[in-house]
């Protein structure tokens, strides 16, 4: 019996699977002419081990050191990414934990954003937030080995 070469099988699978893949993708509508949105996520570790304020933390949110009763704020990880509506930004926090941010739509000039904090496959937090354009939400509290985590999540629409 003649057999198809693996490369041809792969090509055929790709070709046949492509329509399914396209169908499975969510439609990414444009929102009032706003083509995309820039999502910024910063992972900050705060503790009282020393007095230290990372300048990148204040650049993300100037009042962060006033809002939280800690003396040290260190930026652990940061990501800034322009995504289409419905696209997702994923950032590893530490260990198995990661955050997924999905800008859904713009509503009354505010960016409706879904934020999920996940540990491996376990959902720790799943929230939908209405963010002011260029506004920031601070999510804090999860413990880290040497302090607590504070996530600074922002959204800015792009034309």
């Amino acid at each position: 019996m003649s057999a198809l070469p693996p490369a041809l099988v792969g090509a055929l699978v790709t070709i046949l699977g492509a329509p399914f893949a396209v169908a499975a993708q969510p439609l990414l509508p444009q929102q009032d002419g706003l083509r995309s949105v820039e999502i910024s996520v910063g992972v900050i570790v705060a503790n009282n081990s020393q007095v230290w304020l990372d300048h990148r933390v204040t650049a993300m949110n100037p009042g962060v050191n006033r809002l939280f009763p800690y003396s040290s704020f260190r930026l652990l990880n940061e990501k800034r990414q322009a995504v289409p509506w419905g696209g997702r930004v994923r950032l590893k926090i530490s260990g198995r934990r990661y955050v997924v941010v999905v800008p859904r739509e713009i509503k009354d000039g505010r960016v409706l954003t879904r934020i999920r904090l996940i540990d491996g496959k376990r959902s720790l937090l799943d929230t939908t937030v209405s963010l002011r354009d260029r506004g920031t939400l601070l999510v804090g509290g999860p413990t880290e080995t040497d302090g607590v985590l504070i996530l600074a999540i922002g959204a800015a629409t792009l034309r």
Binding site: L4, V13, F20, G63, L67, Y70, R122, S123, T136, P142
Partner: protein, 183 residues
């Protein structure tokens, strides 16, 4: 057959490359024609000389290391996985064509793999409603951010709004968190 025709066919006759009928005709002619017979004998002698010379040179070559070298190269050859797969595929003979069912299965697997990949972030354990935190919305304003929906497995959760900076803080508390943000 003329001598000229026979002469053209003699080299082929000597190499045994003529068909049976031509072989018979050339043999008959050379038996009767002394010139062609002499030419044939000359060719035979030349062929013998060449053959002896080649055999002599070949016998001088040391072939003892040939097979070990070939064998070493054979064992060093790594057969790609797709070639092995193809070889096994070709060995399978169930009496009917497997290609279409195989393609369907492969396509289904590809779609499943893509679906799994696309939905991976959603593959989270369902939230235990008993563990969903009580949310304190008292301070939540309509500033930088306002909470539309929320589900969490953290034991407690508070939402603060700083009137000065208008920053919104979502503060979760797990077993080890003993400090909270400024109220």
């Amino acid at each position: 057959m003329t001598c000229r025709e026979a002469s053209n066919l003699l080299p082929l006759f000597l190499d045994g490359e003529l068909d049976a009928r031509q072989m018979r005709v050339v043999a008959m002619h050379s038996m009767r024609c002394q010139t062609c017979e002499l030419e044939l004998k000359e060719m035979e002698r030349l062929q013998l000389l060449v053959s002896d010379s080649v055999k002599k040179r070949v016998n001088e070559i040391d072939f003892t290391q040939l097979w070990p070298a070939v064998e070493r190269r054979i064992t060093d050859v790594r057969i790609p996985w797709w070639s092995r797969l193809r070889s096994r595929w070709e060995e399978i003979d169930l009496g009917f064509d497997l290609r279409l069912p195989a393609m369907v299965v492969a396509t289904a697997l590809a779609v499943l793999a893509f679906t799994w990949y696309a939905r991976q972030p959603d593959v989270t354990q369902p939230l235990d409603s008993q563990r969903v935190a009580q949310i304190d919305y008292n301070s939540a304003g309509y500033d930088d951010a306002s909470i539309e929906e929320i589900e969490t497995t953290f034991p407690s959760l508070r939402v603060y709004s700083d009137p000065e900076s208008k920053a919104t803080v979502l503060w979760v508390t797990d077993e080890n968190t003993n400090l909270e943000p400024m109220p």
